[in-house]
Symmetry: C2
Subunit: 323 residues, 2 copies
Amino acid sequence: MTDASLSLDDVQRAARRLSGVAHRTPVLRSKSLDAAVGATVFAKAECFQRTGAFKFRGAYNAVASLAPETRGNGVATYSSGNHGQAVALAAALHDVPATVLMPEDAPATKVAATREYGAEVVLYDRYQQERTTLGESLAEDRNMVLIPPFNHWDVMAGQGTTALELVEDVEALDTLVVCVGGGGLISGCATVAKAQDYPVRVVGVEPEAGDDVKQSLEQGHIVTIETPRTIADGQQTTSPGDKTFAVMARRVDEVVTVSDDAIVDAMRLAFERLKVVLEPSGASALAALLSGAVSVEPGERVGVTLSGGNVGAQRFAALVGAE
Amino acid sequence: MTDASLSLDDVQRAARRLSGVAHRTPVLRSKSLDAAVGATVFAKAECFQRTGAFKFRGAYNAVASLAPETRGNGVATYSSGNHGQAVALAAALHDVPATVLMPEDAPATKVAATREYGAEVVLYDRYQQERTTLGESLAEDRNMVLIPPFNHWDVMAGQGTTALELVEDVEALDTLVVCVGGGGLISGCATVAKAQDYPVRVVGVEPEAGDDVKQSLEQGHIVTIETPRTIADGQQTTSPGDKTFAVMARRVDEVVTVSDDAIVDAMRLAFERLKVVLEPSGASALAALLSGAVSVEPGERVGVTLSGGNVGAQRFAALVGAE
């Protein structure tokens, strides 16, 4: 078991690397959202991050942290989509090649966007093949550095800058609600939250079908599940990594789950009230607040990650319009 | 004919009234948008304005400009939707009642939102009844002050604060592209643009079916058309007012038109690339840039109004998803 060796300092260093490169995304406020949740909600809108999701923070931090000679041959990764785009852009900004392994059934917009950033895309069958092994051998064959999507200290530190900006922009939070796939975002964010000089409850949110992190934290060891079938394609992980598990075990208070229907409801509310586009994975933390999966006290100050907005208009229409 | 008696001073006074009340909306930038347009585009995102559209600026300025004893009995208006919501909220913020006359076929979300702000909604048939006359007699019956949606100096001055913020936030613009319904927004914005110490071309955009302003400016007098059938429900005006016509005749360089299909394409691009929600009327200026209806030089700096985001998810799905 790896120690929880991720500190506020690591996140602050990442913030300095990202300064002027990543967008400082807005914190959205809405009276109708507050009324629907029954608390004061501060929504960190990572749908406006470069590449459309928080993933750029971690990928850029990881690539920037490599010695120039190490990253010279390029970087590789496996990703359900947003991390792939993020690595592709981070590599392009460092002028090195990128290869991205993506599932065959990833949304077409994500595959196309990854290619647009200049990366080579290699497809695989996510229900038959194990992406970590495939990714590792791909990187080895090409002599590239593998940047995994979550189980990597520099990636986790980069994702933590999301919460760092939020606590800088907002007065003391009581609760921070964060979308959980493999746990990279929440590991970084919980590290920031627990380093504040006031108590912050940190709650993770997974789709019902993909509760590998919830099970892992409850059982005290890493639990691996079948690839979950959920609309939240960014949260179809089968287990946390050893590094994210170690950090989450110490710093995450609770993980709750939401149904695909609750996610669609949250996407609709974000669209109609906040006027922003959220992909299913990006709406899951909001869904937990709206559905009551996370209980909040009246007057509580709640931060929530709106972690990504990469959903095509047609897919959105199919998910949200058919009612 | 009324003189074009709207000045930069009027808009600046409106800005002071709106300070701390209206949102200073963000200016969105996107490399893929720049590439699609072939220029450097600065998009003023009024979908994030209170009530979801720029209309709050003018309505609040008009209500705030009334003497307290004059507005005591409340305010009334006629509106295809966004102005109604704006007057409703402006009245609520001044603690006076509001009555809003709305067409029976206005989007249900707009009718519901107007009621939520505390206004009484009275419905009429927009293809049979003339809203101006109805609105005037309604206001007279109830002894309320009528706040018309565009042909009113304080309304026009308030809308102009949109451009005032844009020119403050962005270095010199070459062109400003503005959605046109009755001409309230463009009158205020053109007044600001033409008061800068550098030349700014001001281009208005109407839906093809509703080109009353284009015809009016070309013919040099106010032209009245049949109520246009277009998806851009905020631009279904039949003629400009005498005040907006007078200002536009002096300060607008050109009016172009866009098809409903081009508007849908712009809504889709805003959704997928900018991650923001635009209603059809709110996307028309962007549509003019994307469709080439407004010609721009490479390297030109172009401001564009994204004037509103009040579209239900289901209506969006029906418009954009069915391809």
